[in-house]
């Protein structure tokens, strides 16, 4: 429980502290507390591993009066992954976003916003209360929008505004569903909603909340805001936005469809969700193929990679939840979330290094950089392996589990998309890799400290390691996994 409170509050405490500190003390404090949070996340995962889900009724008030927090295996895994990504981003940002490189405004603004984003993520991962989730997601969105706007260019501001409009519309749709849920059941707690007396308005409530969350998760056709926003932010911010932020709203979708209202998961609705995911995989991949800037390629890749997550719905949701393949599908999607987080953060951080070195991320300008910055090129290639779903990587484990379940469930079209999406990913990631490894040596590149270059390499290696050591996270993800539909016949 204490680890849970630390994970929940330390980012907030640090954010408030950073606002009061002189500029010199900022980075050391953030790095020290990031390390502490990583440790606390490890302690929390260990506690969940040994003792099952950790719960906390905030203020001592049990639902429906109060708000319950709960760390199950999934929350613990996401908290751990986020802590690693955040820590890495902080390490990279201390080189990249120094006041003398980017000015006092960005040098100041990034840190508290990053910490508030972190606090919001952990709050969302842990919360079991629909309205508390709303507040958490709003905090997340505001911090994320501000990070997009951080660079201050006209394109970044327009991207931030477009993001803001989608995020606000999504919040309001979600809020409408929350209002209906409370209006019909007098509770906002996910656990209590699971045992509610069904009402006619439940389907509308679930539909509204889902639509709102889809807009925030940038599922096709709500994806248009994502690429300019993620590509327009400074690279460390892009890493956070792409790797972590969509996972939070996705997690709420999982909580709704698997825990709060699994009885409403009709086959058709689940199919629509997965079909949108499949279109996202293809469409995001095709658009990534025609981009000319590295950050845009990586951002469109996020649109595609998020699509895979939605295969969880028909494979493990609704009637499927009681089937033998549900565990594989569920875990596969979560592995995708985890490994995409690590690999995508690594990719954006490498993009940041390239921009710092040559001032551009156009593919034509990147030619030959693998020779100048070999570690960074290697990191990008490793991360690409995960995104392509090639073994041995976390992305491969995810794909393997999802494909196996798709076959077992007789829903082979998803497997086809998984296989085709991998080839598409290989195609769109090949272009930057080929450019990096091209012959022309970059002479004008500014030197990049080796410690900075090591950061994305570590993240990318972690995304590979996730595949080699997948047994432990696999078992962790099973802890507190929503049980198959109430077996009480």
């Amino acid at each position: 429980m204490s680890a849970l409170v630390v994970v929940l509050t330390l980012p907030l405490v640090t954010a408030l502290t950073v606002l009061l500190l002189p500029a010199r003390a900022r980075v050391p404090v953030v790095l020290a507390s990031s390390a502490l949070i990583v440790l606390a996340a490890g302690a929390l995962a260990l506690a969940v591993w040994h003792g099952g889900p950790v719960t906390l009724a905030v203020g001592g008030w049990a639902p429906p009066l109060g708000i319950a927090l709960r760390a199950d295996g999934l929350a613990a895994a996401l908290i751990m992954m986020s802590a690693l990504v955040m820590g890495a981003v902080a390490l990279a940002a201390q080189f990249e976003l120094t006041p003398d490189r980017v000015g006092a405004r960005m040098g100041f603004g990034f840190w508290p916003l990053m910490l508030l984003l972190w606090a919001a993520l952990n709050a969302v991962y842990l919360s079991r209360d629909l309205f508390n989730l709303y507040v958490g997601v709003e905090l997340l969105s505001l911090a994320a929008v501000a990070l997009v706007a951080l660079s201050g260019s006209a394109q970044a501001l327009a991207a931030a505004l477009r993001y803001m409009i989608f995020a606000l519309a999504g919040s309001l749709l979600y809020l409408a569903g929350v209002v209906l849920a409370y209006g019909a059941h007098g509770t906002l707690d996910i656990g209590l909603l699971a045992v509610r007396v069904p009402a006619h308005t439940d389907a509308l409530a679930l539909g509204l909340m889902t639509a709102g969350l889809l807009a925030k998760t940038a599922l096709f056709p709500f994806h248009v805001w994502l690429p300019p926003a993620h590509a327009g932010a400074p690279a460390p911010a892009s890493a956070l936005l792409s790797a972590l932020v969509p996972k939070a709203s996705f997690l709420i979708l999982i909580r709704l469809w698997f825990e709060a209202m699994p009885d409403l998961a009709s086959g058709a609705a689940l199919l629509v969700l997965a079909a949108l995911g499949a279109i996202a995989v293809i469409w995001g991949g095709v658009l990534a193929l025609v981009q000319k800037r590295l950050k845009l390629i990586v951002a469109y890749s996020t649109v595609a990679q998020l699509g895979y997550l939605f295969f969880i719905f028909p494979l493990a949701g609704g009637d499927g939840s009681a089937q033998p393949w549900a565990a594989g599908a569920w875990t596969g999607a979560m592995f995708q979330a985890l490994s995409h987080g690590l690999a995508k953060a690594a990719m954006f951080l490498t993009a940041g290094i390239y921009i710092a070195a040559i001032g551009s991320d156009r593919l034509g300008d990147l030619r030959g950089l693998a020779r100048t910055l070999p570690m960074t090129g290697f990191a990008f290639a490793l991360a690409a392996i995960t995104l392509m779903g090639l073994p041995p990587s976390g992305g491969f484990t995810a794909k393997y589990l999802l494909m196996t379940s798709a076959f077992a469930a007789g829903q082979w079209p998803w497997a086809l998309v998984l296989a085709g999406g991998g080839v598409l990913a290989a195609a769109y990631l090949y272009r930057p890799i080929a450019a990096l490894f091209a012959q022309r040596a970059q002479t004008a590149a500014r030197p990049i400290p080796r410690a900075w270059q090591a950061v994305p390499l570590v993240l990318a290696a972690l995304s590979i390691l996730l595949g080699l050591l997948s047994a432990i996270p696999f078992d962790l993800l099973q802890i507190g996994r929503p049980a198959p539909a109430q077996e009480g016949l």
Binding site: L20, V58, L142, H185, G186
Partner: protein, 309 residues
């Protein structure tokens, strides 16, 4: 009689809202929007939700209105202040709007009346007499803590919108007030009165109506008037006292929650004997932060250009 009153009120609300959406100029839309908020506040009072009425009047109508007016003024200076609404009806949008309204309307009649959480029996242990305050600062204190952080995030977001060259300039554009004019006199007299009223709202909120948000908003308004009347000077982002004022509310709130956890009571768990005093301390700190943050949100990021022009 009362039904007729409510019908008339709702017709007014809808009419003003329609004018906000369809009205000619953006400026007029903003005025309609403020009027809308005031009518809505009356609606809340009719529903018996006085805390909400106060919040809507102060924040929804008042502060949001000032925010929009200030923005409009700045946009007008950049010749981006106005745009006529597109002619004709946008059919897809109309269908979406009608669909949403119909769905919610249907839901109202389909909605069962559930058992609601038992606040009455928990209220004595909450330390306050006003159930809304009990929910906000005790039962669902985590929501409120996060909400105070949301305000902070918005403020940071607004600040980083400054241009790099303006970062060290005083916050907000310069306000021109005629010396000896109404605003200046207003700005001299209002603050003491508003200060008393705001503090009263926080104090009363514990047991009657009001609270940190409403009180803080009144104080923010006072601060804004004083700023516009040039009675006080806008600070800079780097001003330590300003940062402290913005941070103190969430910090005290968090500290209280963590102290409770440290003493073994659990995160944000207030022992009934101490609850009232702790809540008052938290509210006092929150009021300061809310007041400062709201005022700063309205005046916007540091802007040197507005000053020299």
């Amino acid at each position: 009689m009362s039904l007729a009153l409510d019908l008339a009120l709702c017709a007014l609300i809808l009419g003003v809202a329609l004018a906000t959406v369809a009205g000619g100029g953006v400026f007029r839309a903003v005025i309609f929007f403020i009027t809308y908020g005031l009518f809505l506040a009356i609606g809340w009072a009719r529903l018996g939700a006085f805390d909400v009425a106060l919040a809507e009047a102060a924040i929804g109508a008042g502060l949001t209105g000032v925010l929009l007016l200030a923005a409009h003024a700045r946009l007008r200076r950049m010749q981006a202040g106005d745009a006529p609404p597109p002619a004709g009806l946008n059919l897809p949008a109309a269908l979406a709007g009608a669909g949403m309204a119909l769905a919610l309307g249907w839901a109202w009649f389909a909605l069962p009346v559930p058992a609601t959480p038992d606040i009455a029996s928990a209220l004595p242990r909450s330390g306050v007499g006003n159930p809304v305050t009990a929910v906000l600062l005790n039962f669902r204190a985590w929501d409120t803590l996060l909400e105070s952080i949301v305000l902070l995030a918005a403020l940071l977001g607004v600040w980083i919108l400054a241009r790099d060259g303006d970062w060290n300039a005083p916050l907000g554009p310069r306000y021109h007030a005629l010396s000896g004019g109404v605003l200046v006199n207003f700005g001299r007299f209002l603050p003491p009165i508003g200060l008393c009223f705001g503090v009263y709202l926080v104090w009363a909120g514990a047991d009657y109506i009001g609270g940190a948000f409403q009180g803080g908003t009144v104080l923010a308004a006072v601060g804004l008037v004083a700023l516009m009347a040039n009675v006080v000077r806008p600070p800079r982002v780097s001003y330590a006292l300003l940062r402290a004022a913005v941070v103190i509310g969430p910090a005290v709130f968090l500290l209280a929650g963590l102290l409770a956890a440290g003493f073994g009571a659990g995160f944000l768990t207030l022992p009934p004997a101490l609850a009232k005093s702790v809540i008052l301390v938290i509210e006092a700190a929150l009021t300061i932060s809310i007041a400062v943050t709201l005022a700063l949100l309205v005046i916007g990021p540091p802007d040197d250009a507005g000053r020299s022009s």
